[in-house]
Amino acid sequence: MDASVILFYVISVLLVLSSLMVVFLRNVIHCALALVAALFLIAILFVMLHAPMMGVLQVLVYAGAIMVLFLFVIMFLNPTAPEPRRKLWWGFGSLAALLLAASLAALLSNGEAPADPVAATETFGSPETLAKSLFTDFVLPFEITSVLLLVAIIGAVVLAKREP
């Protein structure tokens, strides 16, 4: 077996475990830390898929900025009330998700996807090619994204402000 296949298996087992921990742990802080682990593992998968720039951005933006925001809000609110658990609802939700996973997997593995990847050139996934694509084909979405982020900043300030 190829070394990359073994690495993929190890990472996917760890990824599924940490995702399950995000959903099933009771303490919110533990959930957040499991999510950080999952995001790091996804970043490793990105690097394996010749997307080093996206892996770096994943660690910086997701595991860095967004998770710090989550942890800050958790510590700010300090929710102490224990979460009520309903067995029936958990069983129903897990069953629905299992059905979803099975149908998605069947659907995705049935497509006529190329068996062999296109041979990656030296520069594939480098910041240079990413920026070239971003600033030629995707200029308009890029500019709209900046407006979206401005709206998010203003909205967050207005929403979280204490009313006088």
């Binding site: 190829d2 993929f8 996917s12 599924v16 995702s19 995000v22 959903v23 919110v28 957040a32 999952a38 995001l39 996804i42 998968l45 394996m48 898929l49 010749h50 997307a51 996206m54 994943q58 997701y62 967004i66 989550f70 809000v73 609110l77 929710p79 009330a81 979460e83 609802w89 939700g93 897990s94 629905a96 998700a97 979803l100 996973a101 998605l104 995705l108 593995s109 996807a113 190329p114 068996a115 990847p117 296109v118 990656a120 594939f124 996934g125 090619t129 990413l130 070239k132 971003l134 084909d137 890029f142 994204t145 979206l148 982020l149 900043i153 909205g155 967050a156 929403l159 979280a160 204490r162």
Partner: protein, 100 residues
Amino acid sequence: MVPLEYYLILSAVIFAIGVIGVLVRRNLIVVLMSIELMLNAVNLTFIAFSRYLGSMQGQVIVFFVMAVAAAEAVIGLAIVISVFRHRRSLDPQEMQLLKW
């Protein structure tokens, strides 16, 4: 080389785990974290297709998804804070002001 299907099935599993979190958890912060997990599963699909089709467009779209996810997390957490301020609770079941 890992076949494309492995990545697709892995991301389907991660997406379904995120769906469990959104359906059954009764804590708004964990629900938001599960949504982040689902977004990441979709990002993984995009990156895998980008690699196997040899096109940069998937990576660019993941870039935009990250920006939208950041905006979503910021707004979602601001709403969580303001809801907590009014109701002293993070349980989505108690938010039924608009329920008929």
